[in-house]
């Protein structure tokens, strides 16, 4: 097993489009690492550069401490699973699984033996003589994994391996993949545009936007404490609430309402400063009675999400959404109080888009200011285009 590092990696395509821009990344040995981002963010280019399928314009790729920037893909000790699985249609499942060994001139009997063992452990033993086209999508995906396993690679690179499966199969394959990786303890880099996959599978993840990494960390950290408005908006099943606010002697004024300043951020918030307050709908509760630090409003929209309802409240110059249990039986026109969990309220600098974290906020942001549409009239910025991945 080996760690993977990328140093100041830049990939410029013909025409001057920078798919990767001075990108640094370190993936630890045995780690399951997810690269998440909207389409066109450069995550696949990054993966292909690590594989050696793209030639970086500048920068370095290190695998197991060895500089492999100029090494052909076959010499990097990696295996890759493609979105379309890339199983050779004219070969049987057994031959496909054994193919990496054929390239290394392992004798036929030996490599087929290896293939059937791997196949057996992945539940594919009865399909060895079939062609890929005769298998279901889930089985094909497992054949692709089996092929990666027989290559004895030290690093697995997975490019959206679940996206060609239907929803039911995808959940099963996800569990399978996680257990497989735990068993093999092989360093795995996983590209996806589906945040639920990244959250469920990864030990750590990186969120990318336009060729740069916007945040790296464990999934829970990225979800609960996004470093910037882009990550805040991108993560989460429902769009995060973004509210324009002003610091006013120990409180935040949001429209006609006041909420307490989240602990740890006071130092960065001098009186009179304009900030953006962000809180996820799932961290907002509804109350029938007046609450301090709550927003009074009438229910203007109720969206049923299954177990939960997504309720939109308007009032006091603020629009806010809350995710509540369906048992709350919220009705249109009801007057309620929306109460954000103070532990989960995040404060961002609207001009840089960076999260304000008290003392730490002094660190200058690397990234260009995030453009935000402001609506000073109501004080509500609305919700970020969260989950805009595709």
């Amino acid at each position: 097993m080996a760690d993977v590092a990328v140093e100041a990696l830049t990939k410029e395509f013909a025409g001057g489009v920078k798919a990767l821009d001075q990108l640094d990344l370190a993936v630890e040995e045995g780690e399951f690492f997810a690269l998440l981002g909207p389409s066109g963010c450069g995550k696949t280019t990054l993966l292909r550069s690590i594989a050696g399928l793209e030639r970086p314009t500048s920068g370095k790729v290190l695998i197991g401490g060895r500089d492999v920037t100029r090494t052909p893909p076959g010499g990097r000790g990696i295996a890759m699973v493609f979105q379309d699985y890339a199983l050779l249609p004219h070969m049987t499942v057994a031959d496909n699984i054994a193919y990496p060994l054929k390239i290394r001139h392992v004798p036929k009997a030996q490599r087929l033996e290896a293939a059937s063992r791997t196949a057996a452990s992945l539940g594919l033993d009865q399909y060895l003589k079939r062609r890929p086209a005769e298998l279901s999508g889930g089985q094909q995906q497992r054949v692709a994994l089996a092929r990666a396993i027989t290559s004895r690679a030290k690093v697995f690179l997975l490019d959206e391996p679940l996206s060609n499966l239907d929803a039911q199969l995808r959940m099963e394959a996800r569990i399978f993949l996680k257990r497989l990786q735990q068993e093999l303890a092989v360093t795995t880099i996983y590209v996806t545009h589906d945040q639920s996959e990244a959250l469920a599978l990864a030990d750590r993840m990186a969120v990318m936007e336009r060729g740069v990494i916007r945040q790296v960390g464990p999934p829970v950290e990225v979800y609960l404490r996004p470093d910037n408005l882009f990550v805040a908006g991108f993560m989460g099943a429902t769009p995060i609430n973004l509210l324009e606010a002003k610091v006013d002697t120990g409180v935040l004024r949001v429209g006609d309402n006041r909420i307490g300043i989240p602990s740890g951020t006071q130092a960065g918030l001098s009186s009179g400063r304009q900030v953006t307050v962000a809180v996820r709908p799932e961290h907002v509760s509804l109350s029938d009675a007046a609450q301090t630090g709550g927003f009074e409003g009438s229910v203007v929209l109720v969206e049923h999400l299954g177990d939960d309802d997504l309720v939109t409240l308007e009032g006091g110059g603020v629009t806010i959404r809350a995710k509540v249990n369906i048992d709350d039986a919220v009705q249109l026109g009801d007057l309620r109080w929306a109460v954000p969990n103070p532990e989960r309220v995040l404060v961002f600098d609207p001009s840089t888009g960076e999260r304000i974290r008290g003392q730490n906020a002094a660190a200058p942001p690397r990234v260009a200011p995030h453009a935000l549409a402001k609506d000073a009239g109501t004080g509500a910025i609305g919700t970020a285009a969260g989950g805009a991945g595709g």
Partner: protein
Amino acid sequence: MTVIGIPVEHSGDGQLDVAPPSNRGKPEWARAVAVRSIWYVLGVVVAAFFALPMLWLVTAPFEAHPGFDVGLSHLTLSNFVDVFHNPNALSSLYNSLILSLLTMLIVVGASALAAYALSRVNLPGRDVMLYVLLLLSSVVSGTAAMVPLFLLVFDMHLINTDAGVVLVLAAGLLPAGIFILKDFMDSIPRSYEESARVFGASPLRMLWDVVGPSVRPGLAVIGVWAVVNVWGNFLIPFILLRSPGLTPAAVEIYSFYTSGGQANLRLISTFSLLYTLPVVVIYLLVQRRYGFRFYGGIKG
């Protein structure tokens, strides 16, 4: 009633007016039958036009004394026996086969390599090169270039050799072959090769293991197309091959004369049938196996 998008008032044959068919009554129905009958008659005429010239090919070989007319008065198989006993007839079919297979090997091999390179590597000027290739192959025909081709082959001391014929024919077929195969290659997902590369496969191994098997239908199309072309070609062997032992069937057939100096129709008709059958069989096989896909055609 308005008719949207169809400029009915310009309808040339006057069949269509705006009124719905139900208003037309019985004469319309009768007319439809008449129109239909006319089409059937035309169909029969066209079928006859295409079928009649071929009748001779299926009757004369079985006729004891064939003339130019179609008929079976004395049914016999002795003509076939004669052909099999004629050494020139059999050896010329063999020569045709050799020329076809050699040309096919060169065309399939060279065009596969070239098509792969053109499909996968963005060489500078690639599109211009493809355009010039296409133009060249359609403009420089064997007929228009027969004089320089003859002199070139003569100066290369390849006159009266299989090599001369094979090289000239292969060069003529290559551009179209490259074009067709490039289409096939472009349709193979790149992830197949990338996956092989990640496991350490060399370019030739990728071509052999991954690309070759995936374009097998394309290779078959090119191969069959080359064989059929060479098999039926008359002009090139006619000007480049002169000794009787080397000439293929297309040229040899003109040596079938009776001792009286008349064309030996027994031999010619029977030999024609034997010479034609492989092409028709190949065509049927290709159509059954791959369906007929349109690639500028298989022309003999």
